[in-house]
């Protein structure tokens, strides 16, 4: 029950933020990325405000020692700046520039009922499944195999 409540409240506030920020409008996003054209700096304000609140908020939350409804914080442990990270970011950047949608705004835009957005999100999910499946099959290779 607490899981559903936490997800619903946080997701709702996140969605409101996306709707107000301009991120759910691909023309605003591409206007921000178009530094050589009629540059629209609006997203600087989104990132600035978002990072300020999160920097301070995380500090306060981590200071408590543990979350309210979970035994411990679940944080990424990897510190390696490796090929998957960089190539993933490059691939993501190309897609983001091409369409002006990143995952959050794409999901929120489903509420508009537009066919284009459903097709986009289907393609996004297909890309996610492809990589998750690839990673799972690589991880399933028994140790020693392939090391001749």
């Amino acid at each position: 029950m607490t899981e559903i409540l936490a997800g619903l409240i946080a997701g709702f506030i996140f969605g409101l933020g996306l709707c107000l920020s301009g991120l759910a409008d691909p023309s605003v996003v591409q206007g921000f990325l178009d530094v050589a054209g009629a540059w629209n700096p609006a997203l600087l304000f989104v990132m600035g405000a978002g990072l300020t609140v999160t920097l301070i908020g995380y500090r306060l939350v981590f200071g408590r020692g543990r979350p309210l409804w979970a035994p411990r914080f679940n944080l990424p442990t990897s510190t390696a700046i490796d090929t998957p990270l960089i190539s993933g970011a490059v691939i993501f950047g190309i897609g983001w520039g091409l369409a002006g949608y990143c995952p959050g705004p794409a999901v929120v835009s489903l509420a508009s009922g537009r066919t284009e957005v459903f097709v986009f999100v289907t393609a996004m999910i297909t890309g996610m499944i492809a990589v998750r499946w690839m990673r799972a099959s690589l991880a399933a290779v028994p140790k020693g195999l392939g090391q001749s």
Partner: protein, 138 residues
């Protein structure tokens, strides 16, 4: 409302949401990660949290529209020939790089994670170059 003011309020709400999720559930508020955990080959244990988060995301523009008659959702700028490959790329890229604009760009950078800073600078730069090529070269 001035677009820069609504942008700042929107950003602050996104920040508040990821802080709240960390406070309540101890989780990173990255959308690609939240969605990814609901997909094959393996459903994440906390799928209820993830599904509820997505329900909240979808509810926001509907309620906003009902209350103030505005939801901020814009029209796509490109056709299917671009949307389909672009969608596949953001899906595959965020799964491979373990994060997107929210997970790396907000949560990770706010945690001062070097991985997230590198990822964010990389995808922002590549996105700027992509738009430059689309609009000023081709």
């Amino acid at each position: 409302m001035h677009p820069f003011l609504s942008a700042a309020i929107g950003g602050a709400l996104i920040g508040f949401s990821v802080v709240l999720l960390m406070f309540l559930s101890g989780r990173i508020g990255g959308i690609s990660g939240i969605v990814g955990g609901l997909l094959p080959p393996k459903l994440a244990d906390n799928w209820r949290l993830r599904l509820a988060f997505i329900a909240g995301l979808l509810l926001a523009p509907l309620i906003l529209n009902a209350v103030v008659g505005f939801n901020g959702i814009g029209a796509p700028t490109v056709g299917f020939a671009i949307l389909i490959p672009a969608g596949f790329l953001i899906g595959a890229g965020s799964a491979l790089g373990n994060g997107c604009t929210s997970g790396h760009g907000i949560c990770g950078v706010a945690r001062l994670s070097p991985r997230s800073v590198v990822a964010t600078v990389t995808f922002m730069t590549v996105a700027v170059v992509t738009v430059f090529v689309m609009r000023h070269v081709i």
